[in-house]
Amino acid sequence: MRVTVRLFARLRELAGREVWTTEVPAGATVADVWATVTQAHPPLAPFDRAVSCAVNANFSRMSSPLQEGDDVAFLPPVSGG
């Protein structure tokens, strides 16, 4: 199935890309998508334990299973305010 991947802030800068679609196996989780992202962009790997994720603009868990067409966002540690 196809999902959209979206990176923000330093993750976006390190990967050199912001939004793209990718093919993942049926039943894939957010963590599976993250694994493909870090494989393609090794500089993101250090964020393994510091990344937050959102599916369709709602906070999610790395263990959440995805649906066809989901929009999966990865967020580095935040610094608003």
Binding site: A50, N58, S79, G80
Partner: protein, 160 residues
């Protein structure tokens, strides 16, 4: 009153909206506490040229709504407005405006403080600092809006 914007922020505008919202519900508020975060000229000794803020807008607004819900669960008479600015900000410009209204002042300060602490914990917003001699992303908390410990920490700071 919960928004991400590229425009300059105004406490007065939020105050008017919040006061009217509380009054429409009943007796009105007696106290409004506000917070404004402002770009400083230096950060850890380095001279700042300007900042850029980036947000995941749609998620940020939902996060602000969660923060408001959390505040109203604890302070039912409260109202809260929260706007974060994004884009390029010059020194002296405000990045965030929060207005909290309650019947009495102790609660207004607590709600306002709670909101800014929670924003720093969970709002999907990022600060990129541009110095005279380089630039850096600021990375603070790993955002987890379900983390009860973080929520309790913010509440403890707000109610100290």
């Amino acid at each position: 009153m919960l928004a991400v914007t590229r425009d300059p922020l105004s406490i007065d505008a939020l105050t008017t909206a919040v006061e009217a919202a509380v009054r429409a519900r009943g007796e009105g508020c007696g106290a409004l506490a506000s917070f404004l975060g402002v770009v400083r000229a230096t950060h850890q000794g380095r001279a700042v040229r300007y900042l850029e803020y980036e947000a995941f807008d749609a998620l940020a607004v939902k996060t602000f709504a969660q923060i408001r819900d959390e505040a109203l669960a604890r302070w039912p008479d409260a109202e809260l407005a929260l706007v974060h600015r994004v884009g390029r900000l010059e020194i002296g410009e405000a990045s965030i405006a929060i207005v909290a209204a309650t019947a009495h002042r102790a609660d207004a300060f607590a709600v306002c403080r709670y909101a800014i602490e929670r924003v720093k914990q969970i709002a999907p917003v990022w600060k990129h600092e541009y110095f005279v001699d380089g630039d850096a992303w600021v990375e603070g908390a790993v955002a987890d809006p379900e983390d009860a410990d973080a929520r309790e920490k913010a509440m403890a700071i707000a109610c100290a």
